[in-house]
């Protein structure tokens, strides 16, 4: 398979704050690659360097065979960037925004492509209204539509679903999957493990300036604790007892409850519940959570130590 993006030893500091400390990864043509990281991890910084908007301090970035630092214009011609914050012109209408991009890219069929994208993104009815009157979700859709003008082979999406409601988020997922099916290579960033897991062929976790873990969702599942259960107790004494019984598991104490990370398998869940049940511990409430990425990190880093 052809590596269409290759990042080696990427480092970047803002004043004394070292954000990227040697990031390495590569993306194969036609795949969806998810860069996963919490707030401030450096995802946006990474994407900005890859799309030639920011300069790295050291390291190398190759996109489409071109060097992102010395051949910026060639790189720009084969990518499109949808930044974290909507890059739409509020005063113009959706159609004018799309036409603007089409003209700047010298597309021969700007009007046709604009009409198609308006239809795909369900913006036809509002196409001739000023964007200033749009909702956040509509702006985001237009933003991505603008990036797709000219059918770029490489698409960077910085947190494409942040700010979308669940329904639109699913629609966006479908669309991203569709783009990859049609042959585009996609680099997306996200804070949601769930999103990366659902969409990506390959996930890289950016933490502390480096890629701390990477692999296919299946590979990552094996190293990341993906389930978390919360047990609430009416009585403090019962909570203490449960903590005693479950010693050996990774347990976090909250005020009236304890949180236990699991590997998400049924057998482990059954084992925990069985033990509590056989000791007759009174559990007031039982819930199962998707762990936040932060929790996953903490456990991951904790386990490694």
């Amino acid at each position: 398979m052809e590596k269409i993006i290759e990042v080696k030893g990427l480092a970047k500091s803002f004043k004394k704050h070292q954000v990227l400390k040697g990031v390495n990864f590569h993306i194969y043509k036609g795949k969806i690659f998810a860069l996963l990281g919490s707030n401030g991890a450096g995802k946006t910084t990474c994407v900005r360097i890859l799309s030639t908007l920011a300069k790295a301090d050291s390291g190398s970035v190759t996109v489409c065979g071109y060097d992102a630092f010395s051949q910026a214009d060639e790189v720009k011609r084969c990518i499109s960037l949808t930044g974290q914050y909507a890059a739409v012109d509020e005063v113009l209408t959706a159609r004018e925004n799309l036409h603007l991009i089409g003209e700047l890219k010298r597309l021969p069929d700007t009007k046709k492509q604009a009409d198609e994208l308006l239809a795909i993104f369900a913006l036809e009815e509002d196409a001739d209204r000023q964007v200033a009157t749009y909702s956040g979700g509509m702006r985001r859709r237009l933003d991505i539509a603008m990036s797709l003008m000219g059918k770029p082979p490489i698409i960077f999406l910085d947190e494409p679903t942040t700010g979308l409601d669940p329904q639109n988020r699913i629609a966006m997922w479908d669309l991203i999957a569709k783009l990859a099916e049609d042959g585009a290579t996609i680099l997306l960033t996200t804070q949601y493990l769930e999103e990366a897991e659902y969409l990506a062929d390959h996930i890289a976790i950016l933490h502390d300036g480096i890629i701390t873990a990477e692999g296919s969702p299946e590979e990552l599942k094996k190293i990341l604790p993906i389930g978390e259960i919360v047990l609430e107790f009416a009585l403090e004494s019962e909570k203490k007892r449960a903590s005693e019984i479950l010693k050996g598991h990774s347990i976090k104490n909250a005020r009236k409850s304890i949180e236990i990370s699991t590997d998400g398998t049924v057998s482990q869940l059954a084992e925990i519940l069985n033990r509590l049940n056989s000791e007759n511990v009174q559990v007031a409430r039982f819930t199962q959570n998707q762990p936040s990425l932060e929790d996953a990190f903490l456990t991951l880093i904790g386990e490694r130590k």
């Binding site: 990518i79 930044g83 914050y85 890059a87 739409v88 012109d89 004018e96 603007l100 700047l104 000023q130």
Partner: protein
């Protein structure tokens, strides 16, 4: 070039979407012209010409200075929003973004100037300038408009927020009043007089007024040309420099 034209078209559409901004830029100075002309016309003594004939050049300069803040705002709002990143991630000429703003700004200011002159006629402005005089006036005012546009672009690039832009505009207005626009500098206190005689707006106003009332002022023309061309050259270089350094963070 083509990129600049596309950007120009974009800014033109944007300007046409807020006609009230252009209207305000015209109405305020016209209001001032009427106010000054009628209220101070009787008491102001500016030699043998009527006060309304005296203040028209100053009012024009004021209009242009006032209108330039729209350019600062436009540049600032583009720079502070995601849209600039989109332009930058596309293979388009770096200069296109700025020149798109400059062209629209120049054309807008020219239209505003024309409207102001028209309004002046309506309230009693009676120049004696011939066709060549008017052409020279148009030329010098165009140069001045371009010069002030570059300053406006720089203000837009460095401004932290919209407030600092209105601050910049306020300073510009003070500059208009501390010129030969509304009163002969000789009537000002010494320190202000020296300032008024040596700032760029004064020669531009003097040239324009001289030609309008049939008393051309050759020295002012040269000073005005030097000022305008100097500001354009320095302003252009500085704006491009700031723009580039802002982008390569």
């Amino acid at each position: 070039m083509r990129d600049s034209y596309i950007m120009f078209k974009r800014n033109l559409i944007k300007t046409s979407r807020s006609p009230e901004a252009v209207a305000m830029a015209v109405i305020v100075p016209i209001f001032m012209m009427v106010l000054f002309g009628f209220v101070f016309g009787g008491i102001a003594d500016v030699g043998e010409i009527s006060y309304i004939n005296f203040i028209v050049p100053g009012i024009i300069i004021q209009c242009v200075a006032n209108a330039s803040s729209a350019t600062s705002l436009g540049v600032h709002s583009d720079m502070s929003k995601g849209i600039i990143d989109r332009f930058r991630s596309m293979a388009i000429s770096k200069a296109a973004f700025i020149s798109g703003h400059v062209w629209v700004s120049v054309i807008r200011s020219m239209i505003i100037t024309a409207i102001t002159v028209g309004a002046a006629f309506a309230i009693g402005f009676r120049p004696v300038a011939g066709l060549t005089d008017w052409l020279v006036i148009a030329g010098i005012l165009t140069l001045f408009i371009v010069a002030i546009t570059w300053i406006a672009v720089i203000i837009g690039l460095i401004a932290k927020d919209a407030e600092s832009i209105s601050g910049g505009n306020f300073l510009m207005m003070i500059l208009v009043f501390l010129s030969s626009g509304f009163a002969p500098p000789e009537t000002l206190p010494t320190a202000l007089r020296i300032f008024a005689e040596h700032q760029p707006m004064t020669p531009v106003i003097d040239v324009t007024r001289g030609l309008m009332i049939g008393m051309p002022d050759g020295r002012a023309l040269i000073t005005a040309l030097i000022w305008c061309i100097g500001i354009i050259a320095v302003g252009f270089a500085l704006a491009v420099h700031i723009y580039k350094s802002k982008l390569t963070r």
